[in-house]
């Protein structure tokens, strides 16, 4: 029976159905949990990028804003629908007035696409903060772009330096070694051993900020 023509095929099908079934059940029962967790992480990231600005305007500290999630998120963050921008956009509000914006951006890394959240000032010219949503870079090397020292380089940085430019509204930057000290604003420290990934982050920021700034500069939100 084992050597007949049909038995192997039937056998395979049975095994496939059993395991695919188990996987489907597991997947569907855990989906709500996973999605809830992912949404919470995402919202906390957004909150994190605007927390510093919120702390400036309100009387709370950054820490208390983060700690009082989800209330702080519901009070201060609103999602915007900007047709044509093709990216998710949010704004941070304090008592009805907008104090900052946050955009989801993406770009190609070394191993796959990376997604990030970038918060900007209300004129879209200054980067307030940068947070990585997902990346697939090499753990221990490229993945170190999530480390605070690297991301902090982009905080409170006037990024749109040539607002009138047709080609590139951002400034020019060069990467220096992680161990060196930047001499001017145009120098950024790369992650040692992860040149391509570091370049990819910068390229993503520049491409995305160009797109966002050019799209929004003459529109009112």
């Amino acid at each position: 029976m084992k050597d007949s023509f049909w038995f192997p095929i039937v056998f395979m099908l049975i095994i496939v159905i059993i395991f695919a079934g188990i996987l489907s059940v597991m997947y569907r029962t855990s989906q709500p949990k996973i999605e809830a967790y992912q949404q919470e992480t995402y919202q906390k990231l957004i909150l994190g990028t605007v927390a510093a600005k919120l702390a400036e305007v309100t009387e709370e500290t950054q820490q208390s804003i983060m700690d009082s999630y989800p209330e702080s998120y519901q009070t201060h963050v609103q999602e915007l629908d900007i047709p044509g921008l093709e990216r998710r956009a949010f704004r941070a509000v304090v008592a009805d007035s907008t104090i900052a914006y946050c955009f989801e951006i993406g770009g190609k890394g070394l191993w796959g696409t990376m997604q990030a959240l970038v918060s900007t000032s209300t004129d879209f010219r200054t980067l307030l903060d940068l947070a990585l949503v997902s990346q697939q870079e090499t753990p221990g090397l490229g993945a170190r772009i999530e480390e605070d020292w690297f991301l902090a380089q982009f905080r409170n940085r006037l990024f749109v330096i040539n607002p009138e430019s047709d080609t590139d509204v951002t400034g020019s930057y060069e990467f220096i070694a992680e161990t060196q000290v930047p001499e001017n604003d145009g120098q950024l420290k790369r992650v040692t051993g992860a040149t391509i990934t570091s370049d990819a982050v910068l390229k993503m920021l520049r491409d995305e900020m160009n797109h966002i700034y050019n799209y929004l500069r003459n529109k009112s939100l």
């Binding site: 496939v16 395991f19 695919a20 996987l23 997947y27 190609k108 890394g109 070394l110 191993w111 796959g112 696409t113 697939q136 040149t195 391509i196 990819a200």
Partner: protein, 195 residues
């Protein structure tokens, strides 16, 4: 992704060599590199399987998994496609080219577990290649793998095994040689960006 399939093909051989840069496909590589002839045989089979399965998996992913929302089964589906294709190939060869089967036969099951093949399918999805790019990537990766195994087999043939310390013979020295080759290939990186 706007890299031409042609560039991708060459990049897959040199700058992103599936074995020396991404370290996939090591197991059969280490064991079959003793003889130059076997290496050539296995490598050729790998090229064929890689190209076809890249194409097959691309079609399956975009026309079956995505429309039906069962992307989470992609690992299983890809592996099954690869295993089924190799099995089918083995049956074909056994029936229609028995001489080839005897020289090649034992290597075919080895190909199923070659992580390079699975890796290529995963990469092409992660990097969002279109069909032509995927096929070029698959073919190039296969040739890159063949290149690596031929190099190692060639070196091992010339290696005076007597001079190698006993504990290092076989796997040990192969690993060191591969490490040096990998270092050499690091020099290629950055010439062409395939992401």
């Amino acid at each position: 992704m706007d890299i031409s399939a042609f560039v991708l093909f060459w990049a897959a051989i040199f700058t992103s060599n599936i074995l020396l840069t991404n370290f996939l496909g090591m197991c059969s590589y280490l064991s079959v590199s003793r003889e130059l002839e076997s290496a050539l045989g296995l490598g050729t089979a790998v090229i064929f399987v890689l190209t076809v399965t890249a194409a097959l998996n691309w079609v399956v992913y975009h026309y079956l998994l995505v429309p039906f929302g069962i992307v989470y089964l992609q690992f299983i589906v890809f592996i099954i496609v690869i295993a089924a294709f190799v099995q089918f190939l083995e049956l074909l060869i056994e029936r229609y080219a028995p001489a080839l089967y005897y020289t090649l036969g034992i290597f075919l099951p080895l190909i199923t577990v070659n992580c390079a093949i699975f890796g290529v399918s995963l990469f092409m999805i992660i990097r969002d290649y279109n069909f032509l790019q995927s096929v070029a990537f698959g073919a190039g990766s296969g040739i890159g793998w063949l290149l690596a195994i031929l190099m190692l087999a060639g070196i091992r043939r010339k290696l005076k095994e007597k001079l190698v310390p006993i504990g290092l013979r076989g796997a040990g020295i192969s690993l060191i040689i591969t490490g040096i080759m990998a270092l050499g290939f690091v020099g290629f990186s950055g010439i062409v960006q395939i992401q």
